[in-house]
């Protein structure tokens, strides 16, 4: 296998006495959809924050596309093609849906020290943003204030903003959390449609989504990955069943 797109080596993060991420190794191959599952408190969100650059790591290294990005800030990682969505919806509520996505386009269209021309009338920002809204199925909601979107629509907007940055790798933190059955089915279908074109790291509790999308699955328990493998292999893994799936999937 060629060098993985994302290489994590010995990544560690402590909160006081608690080790949230414990010398963690992880390889994400180009084009792969890789799910990270684990019980509550396993350190999934901490790991995502470390990968996205929102949380400093105490030790270890992260390489992305052959470059050491361990010390890079979140915006710097975004500019290199690492996009994320948040577990708790994080959008610009006072702006329109289209503005939200256009801002993400703008962030990747050179510097923004431009003081005169109205950004809302720049086709170079608005057109790509509209295209992405159409892609995620929000075209009809472009001019609505993002705050007044339904929860499921806001989750879609999250993904749209991540996509608008033209990423090579998507870090998705529970994209179907809090969604109804219909909404989550639609989201899974959408993610299936971009899968393969993009590399995706998916942190998810919803096992339907995980087994529908993932090429490989890693199981995170107490900040360490106890198993990595294909969905079939993970399903069959006794250690995993005991540590995690035991309570959920076997029932």
């Amino acid at each position: 296998m060629a060098e993985a797109l994302l290489q994590v080596r010995g990544l560690t993060r402590r909160f006081g006495g608690l080790v949230a991420t414990d010398r963690l190794d992880l390889d994400i191959g180009q084009g792969e959809t890789h799910a990270i599952i684990g019980p509550n408190g396993a350190g999934k969100t901490t790991l995502i924050a470390q990968l996205a650059g929102d949380l400093r790591s105490d030790a270890g290294a992260v390489r992305f596309a052959g470059e050491d990005i361990t010390r890079l800030s979140a915006p710097a990682r975004s500019l290199r093609g690492l996009a994320r969505s948040f577990q708790i919806t994080s959008i610009f509520p006072d702006f329109t849906t289209l503005d939200n996505v256009a801002l993400a386009v703008q962030a990747h269209a050179g510097h923004s020290f431009r003081f005169w021309r109205p950004a809302r009338r720049e086709p170079a920002l608005r057109e790509p943003a509209r295209a992405i809204l159409a892609q995620v199925g929000l075209a009809g909601r472009a001019d609505v204030r993002a705050a007044s979107l339904a929860h499921g629509e806001q989750r879609q907007l999250e993904i749209a903003m991540a996509l608008a940055t033209g990423p090579r790798l998507l870090l998705l933190d529970e994209p179907v959390a809090g969604m109804g059955l219909d909404e989550s089915q639609r989201m899974i279908r959408f993610l299936a449609s971009v899968k393969g074109r993009l590399t995706i790291v998916l942190v998810e509790h919803d096992m339907d989504a995980v087994f529908a999308l993932a090429d490989r699955i890693s199981v995170l328990v107490y900040g360490r990955i106890i198993a990595t493998g294909t969905p079939e292999a993970i399903r069959a893994n006794a250690e995993v069943r005991q540590a995690y799936l035991g309570e959920d999937a076997v029932a």
């Binding site: 994320r84 006072d94 801002l103 720049e122 991540a162 940055t165």
Partner: protein, 315 residues
């Protein structure tokens, strides 16, 4: 601009402002020309604060610093016999920009209550600096013997000419601010106010944009300071007193934070009210203080929200 009534109201306001000197002359009430000129100068200061406070989400409690620096730039040059307005005002802008850059560079690294306390503390430092420099009047300040001198018909000694100069600058800044907040730059600082984590996640580094906004606002307020010292024809460290910062902030809130017309309305309401109450009792602040609390608690939308079409703002 959701209402068709809005442009009409704004147009009427502009006509009213332009009509103040002739009407004041007709009624032989020069006092009002003076008052409105003062209001417009503070409107510029309040507008500049609103750029960083209302649009950028930076609660700067030190905005009077730039008023003072602009005033001192003019006063110090005049003290040394340089009355050229272009030089004086350029220095006012450059000096307040430089100071805003330094204060901003330190304070924007922090956030929340640290930011408030640090901007307040630095302004107090400049206040004490003004007091301690005897050369420029120390505690008492200095008189400005001659107003800034410009070539041609721009004679500021003429109160009416000066009035229209201030009005023109206010309008210019309103237009500039209107463009700036809608341009890419404005979208970034408004996004950072709305959700800084998200702004970073999509690839913006908010610090440099916030610092730029802070610096521009400082420069704008510096020019207001240059105008103010020409208006009062004296200056004291009181220009930079922390209560002045609080007053400018109150103007912004009173008029409507995060709007362009709001600070102008707020400056009007504040100074007219101050005028009214202080004509009535020397202890007007005993009414003013509780009034401020009531506005904060119950009328955060400000006067602008009362205007036709003054609906909820976007971004």
């Amino acid at each position: 601009m959701t209402s068709r009534a809005r442009p009409l109201v704004l147009g009427l306001g502009l006509v009213a402002l332009a009509a103040v000197p002739p009407v004041g002359g007709l009624l032989n009430q020069p006092f009002y020309v003076d008052l409105v000129r003062r209001v417009m100068i503070f409107a510029i200061a309040a507008l500049s604060l609103d750029l960083i406070l209302g649009y950028g989400g930076m609660v700067s409690f030190g905005h009077a610093a730039y008023l003072g620096i602009g005033a001192y730039a003019v006063g110090i040059l005049a003290h040394h016999g340089i009355h050229n307005g272009v030089l004086q005002w350029s220095l006012a802008i450059a000096a307040s920009m430089a100071v805003a850059l330094v204060i901003g560079a330190v304070s924007i690294r922090t956030s929340g209550v640290y930011f408030i306390m640090i901007t307040l503390a630095f302004t107090q430092m400049l206040y004490y600096l003004g007091i301690s420099i005897e050369e420029y009047g120390g505690d008492d300040g200095m008189r400005l013997a001659v107003r800034s001198q410009f070539p041609g018909p721009l004679d500021l000694q003429n109160g009416t000419v000066f009035y229209y100069v201030v009005l023109a600058i206010l309008l210019l800044f309103l237009v500039l601010a209107h463009r700036l907040i809608a341009a890419r730059f404005g979208m970034v600082i408004r996004a950072a106010r709305s959700n800084e984590a998200r702004t970073r996640a999509i690839g913006f580094s908010p610090y440099r944009y916030k610092l730029m906004a802070f610096t521009l606002a400082g420069a704008m307020c510096g020019l207001a300071g240059a105008l103010l010292v020409n208006h009062t024809e004296y200056l004291t460290p009181e220009f930079m007193h922390w209560t002045r910062s609080g007053e400018i902030m109150f103007m912004v809130i009173l008029g409507g934070m995060g709007t362009l017309v709001g600070p102008v309305l707020g400056a009007f309401a504040f100074l007219l009210l101050e005028n009214l109450l202080s004509g009535w009792t020397a202890h007007w602040q005993i009414i003013f203080g509780p009034l401020l609390i009531l506005v904060v608690l119950y009328a955060k939308r400000g006067l602008f929200g009362l205007l036709p079409g003054g609906g909820p703002r976007d971004g």
